[in-house]
């Protein structure tokens, strides 16, 4: 690779810049907007003329007008997404272990079901759930969102993990058993360390999906009791009725984007392998 010609180098530099601009431009745009003064929002420029924390104060500060809307929503989003991810990770780990490791009738049925659920139009189940949740008191509660979130997180977790688990050298388990370990010990000492990265990656992808949800969030909640951030953003209003909530929404958008960007930066390799393993023959 050392003998790369100058022309080739310039070519790659250009391509890299184009890809970076493509990937980061809309993000930078909303980041820049979030630092604009309310009076400068309509200036028609990309960068703010005066950088300010005003918008962040509005959603996080003690006297912020949008604080009561944003902070509970952030708490709901984190809590609900984490719980839905955790449940999916546990159930999917058990199921994927069985699929990768055991021979039993119905294996295909489970995988096909997971596939079917993952292409299911979410809005189709919102109407019956909306009605049912109102009758049994799950409307506008954490549990009322965690249950439908499983329809988003569970199928992809099963597929991704089954692909991961197929690549684990299971002979290690037998080797440990030959050495006198019990089945459970063999599983815990030999297999868990190998399986853990796959489970973690799967959980990460499932978390992204739950974190991204909007349809359930806006349909099955009505107050800040359970409303997650994406749905809350649609309810933002300006500081006065003559003001657009552009600044506050941008600031809130930046705050919920930061954790995603950090996770992507840290676990880029794992996410890519997880995403593609579940989808293409592993």
């Amino acid at each position: 690779m050392g003998a790369m010609s100058t022309r080739l180098k310039i070519g790659w530099a250009v391509i890299t810049v184009v890809v970076l601009v493509y990937a980061l431009f809309p993000v930078s745009s909303i980041l820049a907007t979030s630092f604009k003064l309310p009076s400068e929002l309509n200036s028609g420029t990309f960068l703010p003329q005066h950088w300010t924390w005003t918008n962040y104060n509005q959603i996080l500060g003690p006297n912020g007008t949008a604080r009561d809307l944003f902070v509970p929503a952030l708490r709901n989003s984190i809590g609900i997404s984490l719980i839905a991810t955790a449940i999916a990770a546990v159930l999917a780990t058990l199921a994927a272990y069985a699929i990768a490791r055991l021979d039993f009738p119905g294996k295909r049925l489970i995988l096909t079901t997971a596939l079917g659920v993952s292409i299911f139009p979410v809005i189709s189940i919102v109407t019956p759930l909306f009605n049912l949740w109102r009758n049994i008191g799950l409307y506008d509660t954490w549990l009322g969102l965690i249950i439908p979130y499983l329809s988003l997180t569970l199928p992809i977790s099963i597929w991704t993990l089954a692909a991961f688990f197929r690549q684990i050298p299971w002979e290690l388990e037998q080797a440990a058993q030959v050495d006198g370990a019990t089945t459970w010990q063999a599983f815990r000492k030999a297999i868990v360390p190998l399986a853990a990265p796959g489970v973690f990656t799967t959980a990460l992808i499932a978390f992204f999906i739950a974190w991204n949800d909007f349809v359930y969030g806006i349909s099955l909640t009505s107050t800040s009791r359970a409303r997650p951030v994406p749905a809350a953003l649609a309810f933002f209003t300006g500081a006065s009725q003559f003001e657009e909530p552009t600044g506050a929404i941008s600031a809130a958008a930046v705050i919920v984007t930061i954790p995603v960007v950090i996770l992507v930066l840290l676990f880029q390799r794992q996410i890519v392998s997880g995403l593609t393993q579940g989808a293409v023959k592993g």
Binding site: L102, G106, I123, S124, I125, A234
Partner: protein, 322 residues
């Protein structure tokens, strides 16, 4: 535990050979039981959160049922479907949904393939950087993407009109969200930006499975880059492309977030999901909303069926189990 202990040593021996059609031994039964113990909960949950609601939706769709007048509930057979199917708004929403699906998937496949090629050919150090950058749109909340694109194009807070006022048709006074065509343009742009990374990663995985010897042989034979792409790379990636296209098409068909945030269906930009949402959740017409939900579900099944028939995509074997 004993059942598991009995099972474990034997499977390793049997694994390479395909299981024969022999009468089931106790071991096989125990294995089947363990399999269902482990996979059962996930299976039951998946059924409970999707199959049950869709059946409920089908029942509700046969009733005149409004939450504003619950006592008025009455069985009306297929009347709700008749109402929906004779409503021009339904057909218009279907048209817009199909338009968005076709446009976004077509652009995404081309763009995603380009990105996949770039990542495939890049040197190691660059590849990591490119992959990280590409994953940013993937990880971003769709609603955030919708707001980002909306504010860029918005007539008051946006800068696109100022930057591109030299392009014919774009001026400071262009309100992108005041008519159908321009609204759909921005909606599709946001959708494409956010989901192309996923497709490009799938295609990248497909690319890396094309045997390099084939490509090298073609180089030796003096094939041009374009010939190699058309004759060697693409045919070998057909399955990966089809899977990516089908999954994205089904995903695009469910589009909701971008439309809700940017136009909320104004200026003839309503999509099917938004129509169902407005009927059920906003207007509380459970009967009618359920009918739309069932129709949407049938559309998704139809798209799947069409793909499998037309392109012979075997999803199960493509996605690992085969």
């Amino acid at each position: 535990m004993t059942t598991e202990a009995q099972r474990a040593p034997t499977t390793a021996v049997q694994a390479p050979a395909k299981p024969r059609k022999v009468p089931k031994s106790d071991r096989a039964k125990a294995e089947a039981r363990l399999g269902w113990y482990l996979a059962g909960p996930a299976f039951v949950v998946m059924i409970a959160v999707t199959v049950y609601p869709i059946i409920q939706a089908f029942f509700d769709s046969l009733y005149r049922y409004r939450l504003t007048a619950p006592s008025d509930k009455a069985f009306v057979g297929l009347h709700n479907y008749q109402v929906v199917l004779s409503d021009s708004l339904f057909w218009q929403s279907l048209g817009v949904t199909l338009f968005i699906t076709v446009v976004t998937v077509a652009v995404e496949v081309v763009l995603g393939f380009g990105l996949a090629l770039v990542m495939h050919r890049a040197v190691k150090t660059l590849r990591g950087l490119l992959r990280t950058a590409i994953l940013v749109p993937y990880g971003i909340i769709t609603v955030v993407s919708a707001f980002a694109w909306f504010y860029m194009f918005d007539i008051t807070s946006g800068f696109i009109n100022h930057w591109f006022d030299w392009v014919p048709g774009i001026s400071e006074n262009l309100n992108w969200f005041a008519q159908q065509g321009t609204s759909l343009f921005v909606i599709c742009a946001s959708e494409i930006w956010k989901t192309t990374p996923f497709i490009s990663l799938l295609l990248l995985a497909g690319l890396s499975q094309v045997p390099t010897e084939l490509d090298e042989a073609a180089v030796v034979d003096g094939a041009t880059w374009g010939q190699r792409l058309r004759r060697v790379t693409l045919p070998n990636m057909k399955a990966a492309i089809m899977v990516a296209v089908l999954f994205r098409a089904l995903d695009a068909f469910r589009i909701f977030d971008n439309v809700f945030i940017m136009t909320n269906g104004a200026n003839k930009t309503t999509v099917l999901s938004l129509l169902a949402y407005r009927t059920s959740i906003v207007r509380l017409e459970i009967g009618l909303g359920s009918a739309i939900s069932v129709l949407l579900f049938l559309c998704v099944i139809g798209i799947c069926w069409l793909f499998i028939k037309l392109f012979n995509v075997d999803l199960a074997s493509q996605r690992g189990e085969g």
